[in-house]
Structures are given as C-alpha cells and as structure tokens.
C-alpha cells in the first residue's frame, strides 16, 4: 500500500479518568510529543465505554479508536477494566465481521505513572493508522434519506 504523506488520520482516544487520563496529563507535563491527530475523550472508567461509541466514531469518519484504562487489577472501581476487556474482545470480532481492519481499534492499559508509555502508545497507534490510510466509513442506512 502506498503511504500518503499528507494523510492526517482522525484518532479518538477514550481514557479512563483515574489512570490513563492522568497518564496523558503526565505525558503533557513531561512534554512528550505525540501527533495532534489524537483527541482524548475523558470517561470515568474504561467500563463506561459503550462499544456503540466506537461504532459511532467509525460512522463519523474516525480512522482509529483506542481505549486506555487502568492495568488489570488496578481499576479504581475494582473490576471495570475487566468488563471493558471482555466487551472489547466481542467488539473486535464484530469489527472483523464488518471488515474494519483489526489494527484500527486497540485497547491499552496505561497507569497514571506511565506518561512515557502513553506517548509511545499514541505514536505507535497513529503510525499504524496512518499506514492503513483512510477508513471505510460505516454508514447507518436509516439516516440516508435525510
């Protein structure tokens, strides 16, 4: 596949408030660069992420969606990230079925102390998504008539 130099992907990052959002803040405090294509949405816990939000992002033109939460065992709400992990596994197989490349969705555990890991993860994810190019937009046919 030819890599488009000017292609700027739209990447949505859902970050849990307690670990990953704080990890993202730490990346900022430490001035660790990652592409501006990443936009973060704060959610209280990774288990707040309804898989529908990811499908919605793909409908609206996102090229990649990443979910970041506390490490397994470290969830602020004890068990939230375990639910998130199971739900995302199911979503992955659905996205396979829909023909959205597996690499466009990712789950990563980033603690509040791992600013460097957050930046590395985002750099790597944006690179992967850029390599894949523009995403095929999911469409809700019910909205077509508008």
């Amino acid at each position: 596949m030819q890599v488009n130099e000017t292609f700027k992907p739209t990447v949505v990052a859902f970050c849990c408030n307690w670990c990953s959002y704080a990890g993202a803040d730490l990346a900022g405090t430490n001035r660790l660069q990652y592409p501006a294509d990443v936009k973060i949405i704060r959610i209280p816990c990774s288990c707040r992420l309804n898989p529908l939000f990811i499908l919605r992002a793909f409908q609206r033109g996102a090229d990649g969606v990443i979910l970041c939460g506390c490490h397994p065992g470290d969830c602020h709400y004890t068990t939230g990230n375990y639910y998130a992990r199971r739900r995302m596994t199911l979503l992955f197989s659905m996205l396979d079925y829909l023909g959205i490349e597996r690499e466009r969705t990712r789950v990563e555990w980033v603690s509040a102390a791992e600013g460097a890991k957050f930046a590395e993860t985002m750099n790597d994810f944006v690179e992967t998504v850029t390599r894949l190019g523009e995403n095929r937009r999911l469409e809700d046919l019910r909205c077509k008539s508008e």
Binding site: A27, G80, Y83
Partner: protein
C-alpha cells in the same frame, strides 16, 4: 438552547506559545449556542474567575466551557467560581488544551486546530449537560491506620490528639516496625529505642487509640467517610488481656531453636515469645510453626507455668468488621533480598551481612549484646568493608531497583563512624557510587566520618567477594585512584536497597489505591497532595509512598494525620452527583446492571405503572442508590434496553463529543 460562554486561557505562555488562543476563541464563538467567547492570560486567577462570574450574571449564561489545563487540575476551581455566580457547577466543562495539546505539540497550526476541536467537543457536551445536585453522605468518625511502625504510630497519635478514635492494625505481634531494630539514628546518634519506645507506650495508653496487633486487613468495602473493613485477628494462642508480659513462659519453653526474626535470624528464640523487651502490647505469642503442643498435642509447659492462665491453645483466627471514615496506609518498607547479588557472597559466608543485620550486631539488645563480633566465629573483626547501593540505582531493573534508596548513604556513614568510635583498631572502607547527604546536618555528619573518624571512602563498586580461609577477599575498583583494590576483610556489610513491604500490593488492590511501577503508593499529586492517595479517603504515611528517613516519615505522618482530621471533622460529605440513573419507563428489570455493579448500589423494586385500559401494571425496575454509586458506568453499558445512563457522562454527551471530534 443553551447560552454558552467560552473562556480560553493562555496559561501565561504555556498554552499561548503553541496554540493561537485568539483563533481558538474566534472559532468557538461561531459554534451554535455560544454567545460569548474570549481569551485571557490566566483564567484561574482571581481576575479570570471574576470575568467568568461577571459574564454569567451579565449574559445569563447557562453553560460555561473553559479551555485550559487538565480538569484534574482546575475543574473544581472553575465549578466553584461558576457556582458563586449562580450557575450550577455541573454546567461547566473543561477542554484540556494544555497537558493534552499545547505541551505536547510544537507546531502552532496543528496545535491550534486540535485546541479548536477539543473546545468544540466541550461545547457539544455542555449543550447536553443538565444541572446536577450533589447528595450528602455521613462520615464515620473513626480512622484506620494500617501498619504500626513509626509512621503509623505518629499518624495515630496525631489523629487521637485531635479527639478522634483510631485503630492501628499491625501484622506483627508488636507495634514499632523497623525502627525498633535500629541501634542509633543519624545524624544525632541518639538511640532509636529511647525515642521510639515512649511513643509506643503513648499509643498504647492513649484512650483514643486501639492497637490491633498480630492482625491484617482482609477486605475493604465502601468509600470515603464510609469504609467497612474486615480485619483478621490472627490467633496468638495467648489471651492478650490476661498476659502480663512477665516472660516466664518464654524462659521455660523447651522449643529453643526458632530463628529470631527480630534479630534477623542471627540468634534464636523460643516457640512462645515476646518479640523484644519493650514490645507493645507486651504480650506473648505462640509461633504455631514451631510449638510442639500445637503440632503434636504434647507439651503444654507454657500453660503450666503461666500464673494468670493466659495460654489458650484453642484460640482461632477472629474476623472483625469495623466502620471507618478514613484509612491511612503506613505499610513501610523492607530491605530487598540478597539472592540476586551472590557476587557479594551473602549466601556463602555468615560474615557478609546486610546493614540491618549489622544494626542488630551493634545493638546492646542484639544477639551479641552490642559487641561487634563476626557471626561465623565470634571473633573481633579488624577490617570492615561497606558496600553501598546494593540493588539501588540499578539500570534495567532486572536485578535491583532503579531508584535511590535514600537512607543508605547516611546509615552507612553512621555504621562506619560507630565502628571506628567503638573499635579504633579497625580499618573501615566504604565503597560508593555517589555520597548523597541532602538533609539538615547530614553532610556535616558524613564529613565527620571521613575527617574525624578516618573512614576510607572509596568511589567505586565492589566486583566480587570471595570467602577464603576465614577471610573475605574483596575485589573492588577505585575510580578516582584509577586502580584495582584487593582487601582482605573480616566482615562485609551490604547496604541493601529498600522496597515496599510485600503486603502493600494486595492492600492497594483492596483500597483501589494506585501504585507506581515499584509498588510504592502513588500520591494524588506529587507536589501539591503528597500524603493523599488518588482514592478519596485513603491517605499515605511513611515509606510506603517512597524511601524515607525517620524525620521525613514523622513529618509525613503528621501531614497525613492533619488530612484525616480535616476529613473526620466534617459531619457530612458531599457525594459526586455524576452517578448512574435508571429510566424506569425503559427498564425491564433484567438484573444485568445489578450483576456488574461493584458497589451493590443497584436494587430492584416493584413499581406500579399505568397499563392499557385503565389497568395498572406491576413492573420490576432498577433503582440506583446515589450515595453508594461511585459513577463508574459499568451498568450503563451492561443495560440491554438503554435505560441506565450516567449523569455527567451520558451516552448522548459522549456521542456528542465523538461527533464533534470526528467532524
């Protein structure tokens, strides 16, 4: 339609340097519903806050978006400011354009573009915000301190002093912790026992302090102000209330060959024992792993000699359930195991000891009565080699720890000084990477060791220690002299790195308090909230948060106590109103939400609804207890009918943010 005001902060040049703040406020002014948009140098300053309040009053704003630093930093500030101007605080949203934008992007164009998008997402969210009112929950006015070392004791004493009851849970049969094992303390060289044991007695005698020794925390439920903790009181087979601590049983016990953990296995104790003379509570405990009576049912000497009938071989572990308003973790540290450092021959020769073992060998109450003797043959050592940074400041982290253990430089200087003072015939070498002595009177202390006591400080590491003919052949490099050194030593002392106590990790999981990669507890803010954990109601005291010496530990213990007192002095706490809510008309009572709720906040009631043809229907619907719900949102996704939603992070709000970002 909401009337939204947008306030873009420059944060001095922190934001303004890489984000065109004027362009951001201009772009956001064109968003639907935005009636006012501006930028200002420091939004969080009094002038900035005044401006927001003035605009709320002047324009009747129904929503506010502040584009500034992380909401973790100033969300509360701006919410409070808006509340003062009559706006519901939950109508405020923060767009994080500092930590997650200006600080990480160098290109002003893309930084500005991103800031505009983040602002648009926040505006889109505010459109769907609803005013929320915080509920209240009561506060249990009792604190729990986990760990009875100097950190835990000091915290408990300070809380008790303010009039609140405190429980100390200590896993060992006595409180006192590591400090009880230390001989003298730097930089003043006053004896540790002399300053610690009066505090232990104070704690025991304080009517507000309840010491639960030989106990461990088993489970923690609840939330700030309302914790329910299950504590396991391990069977000590001695009735603590009857035992007078006379010690007769410990003299008569026939099982003499139990390694004495208080002296780090350098001598032995009996199966029934009092850890040390000044133990608090001063009550014996039976070690079930060694007691002949408990193992075979034949002995019973201790119960025969006990004049008060305190021995109870039938005692079982007991589970206590108690309520607390605040919890302080004070689990402390331990030296790392020397297993991975066999180049120093720790496992091959008893004359290679760790610094804590050396501390016992120098202690008047230690196995040698304070006379420094080689553990192998009981002779007086003449040449001693101290090795610093054993396991500290190790790159890669496989073998040791990446951090500086902080206390080793000072205690090694102390050991070297005390050795030279007591035994002027000795030669003492200290091998170091760097000598780090920042602290009041610390550097003076170290210089005294070198200048007055003639300790040989050598910059360089010891490569190998080989036991040979009763001597320890030490091979080391002298970096400043540029030569290899070969020293025939009588004893080698290893300054082992410190690590968090093993009990800290499972405890952190129970408390849902976060830890760093080295298993030290994380503070809520490394500079501004150093004694609070990010989990509300959980506080940190002492070395469980990072390596610390005694003065620092005591200072932090007092600080943690002050925070606890602040919390306990409130009668009611306001709860987070961002909790789940069930739409009863949509709920079908399937119980999916109840199963995933980690707090048991969801219950079901049978409720009457209007049915067809003027009938009434009885339907089972979910109800959320807002005081118990912590707002994680697990239920909102589990709900198959979409009845459950999270206030402040509703489905519609998050979708609106997604839409704004993906446009």
């Amino acid at each position: 339609m909401q009337k939204i005001g947008v306030f873009v902060c420059w944060c001095g040049s922190n934001i303004a340097a890489t984000v065109d703040v004027q362009a951001v406020s201009d772009a956001l002014a064109r968003e639907p519903g935005v009636v006012f948009s501006t930028n200002y140098q420091y939004m969080c300053s009094q002038a900035g806050q005044d401006m927001i309040q003035e605009k709320i009053r002047e324009l009747g704003l129904t929503g506010v978006v502040v584009c500034s630093c992380s909401p973790r930093m100033h969300e509360a500030t701006f919410r409070k400011a808006c509340e003062k101007a009559g706006l519901n605080p939950y109508m405020v949203e923060i767009a994080n354009i500092r930590e997650q934008c200006s600080w990480i992007h160098k290109d002003k164009l893309s930084g500005t573009e991103k800031a505009v998008l983040l602002g648009k997402a926040a505006v889109a969210k505010v459109h769907l915000n609803t005013p929320l009112t915080a509920g209240e929950s009561p506060v249990t006015k009792r604190a729990l301190v986990i760990g009875g070392g100097i950190a835990g004791i000091q915290t408990a004493l300070d809380i008790a002093e303010a009039g609140f009851p405190v429980d100390i849970v200590e896993k060992k049969p006595t409180i006192g912790g590591k400090m009880t094992q230390i001989d003298k303390t730097f930089p003043t060289l006053d004896c540790a026992a002399c300053i610690l044991t009066p505090k232990m007695v104070d704690a025991a005698q304080n009517e507000n302090i309840n010491i639960l020794s030989y106990s461990e925390v088993e489970a923690v439920k609840g939330f700030v102000g309302n914790f329910t903790v299950t504590i396991r009181r391990k069977a000590r087979f001695v009735d603590e209330t009857k035992c007078t601590g006379c010690g007769l049983c410990t003299e008569k016990c026939p099982q003499k060959k139990v390694p004495n953990e208080f002296n780090l296995g350098l001598d032995t104790r009996r199966a029934i024992y009092i850890p040390f003379a000044q133990a608090v509570p001063k009550a014996a405990a039976i070690d079930p792993n060694y007691c002949t009576m408990l193992k075979t049912g034949k002995c019973g000497v201790c119960s025969k000699v006990c004049t008060v009938g305190a021995i109870d071989y039938q005692q079982k572990d007991e589970l206590l359930e108690r309520e607390y308003g605040a919890i302080v973790a004070a689990t402390g540290f331990e030296p790392i195991s020397m297993d991975k450092f066999d180049e120093f021959a720790y496992s091959q020769s008893p004359d290679v000891v760790t610094s804590l073992e050396f501390e016992r060998l120098m202690n008047a109450a230690g196995p040698t009565g304070g006379t420094l003797l080689r553990p192998s043959d009981g002779t007086h050592p003449h040449t001693l080699v101290f090795v610093q940074c054993v396991g500290s400041r190790c790159d890669g982290g496989e073998k040791g720890k990446p951090y500086c253990s902080k206390i080793c430089c000072m205690y090694t200087a102390k050991h070297a000084m005390l050795t030279r003072e007591k035994y002027p015939d000795t030669e003492v070498y200290v091998f170091y990477i760097d000598v780090r002595t920042p602290g009041k009177n610390f550097d003076e202390f170290y210089r005294r060791a070198v200048e007055e006591y003639g300790v040989h400080y050598v910059k360089g590491m010891v490569g190998k220690v080989v036991p040979e003919n009763g001597k320890l052949k030490v091979q080391a490099s002298d970096l400043l002299g540029g030569q290899q050194l070969h020293i025939d030593a009588d004893m080698v002392v290893l300054a082992a790195a410190v690590e968090p106590d093993k009990s800290a990790r499972p405890l952190a999981t129970m408390l849902t308090a976060s830890m760093d990669t080295n298993d030290f507890f994380t503070e809520a803010h490394p500079k501004l909230r150093p004694v609070e954990s990010p989990t509300a109601g959980v506080f940190l005291s002492g070395a469980c948060q990072g390596p610390k010496d005694i003065p620092e530990t005591v200072a932090q213990a007092g600080a943690a106590a002050a925070k606890v007192i602040g919390l306990l002095s409130k009668d009611r706490l306001t709860c987070n109103p961002c909790v789940a809510r069930s739409d009863e008309l949509m709920c079908n009572g399937c119980s999916a939400c109840e199963k995933v709720c980690p707090y048991g906040a969801i219950t079901y009631i049978d409720k009457e609804f209007r049915g067809p043809n003027r009938t009434t229907l009885l339907r089972r619907v979910a109800q959320v207890n807002p005081a118990v719900c912590q707002g994680c949102g697990a239920c909102t996704v589990a709900c198959p009918s979409g009845a459950m939603d999270l206030q402040g992070f509703s489905n519609a709000q998050i979708m609106a943010e997604v839409d704004a970002i993906c446009k």
